[in-house]
Symmetry: C2
């Protein structure tokens, strides 16, 4: 029998509701998986959010995407994408070019170095996910995805 969250965080009282228990379990599980993910990325010099940006840009055309498009596609809310991209530009992972049609827009796209990095990371990332979630069966993973998707339906 796996230790449940209450044992884990040394809580004595029962949870006050099933909704609360689900929320706290979600927080805990995400925190542990993300911590591990960030530690895996660290030696490669990028944060989880930066890796997310690299993947987003790899999936888009050679002109790249504008800041707001990137912001909207990020998994987590990030109010200061400008300086996130500043840092990535400084690290040589992305570069920016102001559009000539709409001079307000600045397209951000991968440099070859950025593309190399994200390509190289594919394998490590896949291995990380196998390590962390590979013990769940296909059916369990599918159910988990379904339930998480369903959980997001309430604004």
């Amino acid at each position: 029998m796996p230790p449940d969250l209450r044992d884990d965080i040394g809580q004595r009282k029962p949870f006050t509701s099933l909704e609360q228990e689900a929320f706290l379990n979600l927080l805990r599980t995400q925190a542990e998986l993300s911590d591990s993910f960030e530690r895996m990325l660290r030696p490669h010099g990028v944060s989880g959010t930066q890796y997310n940006v690299l993947r987003i840009l790899r999936g888009s055309g050679p002109d790249g995407l504008c800041r707001n498009e990137i912001r909207d596609r990020l998994l987590t809310r990030m109010p200061d994408v400008t300086r996130l991209l500043d840092r990535m530009e400084e690290a040589g992972l992305v570069s920016r070019t102001r559009s000539s049609e709409d001079r307000r827009q600045v397209g951000t796209h991968l440099t070859s170095s950025g593309r190399d990095l994200v390509d190289r990371l594919d394998e490590v990332v896949a291995e990380e996910h196998r390590q962390r979630l590979g013990h769940l069966t296909e059916k369990q993973l599918k159910t988990l995805v379904e339930l998480l998707t369903h959980a997001r339906q309430r604004l």
Copy 2:
């Protein structure tokens, strides 16, 4: 049919593995729920982590807990609990007293104001969870908790 994560973040390619899809869904769902939770707490002047500390301290004796105990019970890793507690002390939510047996230890406990706050928040928090997760059935919530607990079993 609820929109899946790929629609949500404008991703064109399919996920590379079921494990990855589960991980990304977990990140996304947690981010949305936490954002909402933080927004709910904001008018009350505490962050999610601070609220977590308030609950931890409410569940412990009148002597409170030492810093490391609090750190270990937090849902998310937090390397700088000292200054987190500094801020809460400054806000009048907790107070600290150095132990006389072991002069290294400092017990942190709720002030009456801190206790009032966490008690008052019970209702709002319960309502928030109902709002956000109340559309899941009891069976779904239980399954979700089980799967999240299981997902945490791999170190």
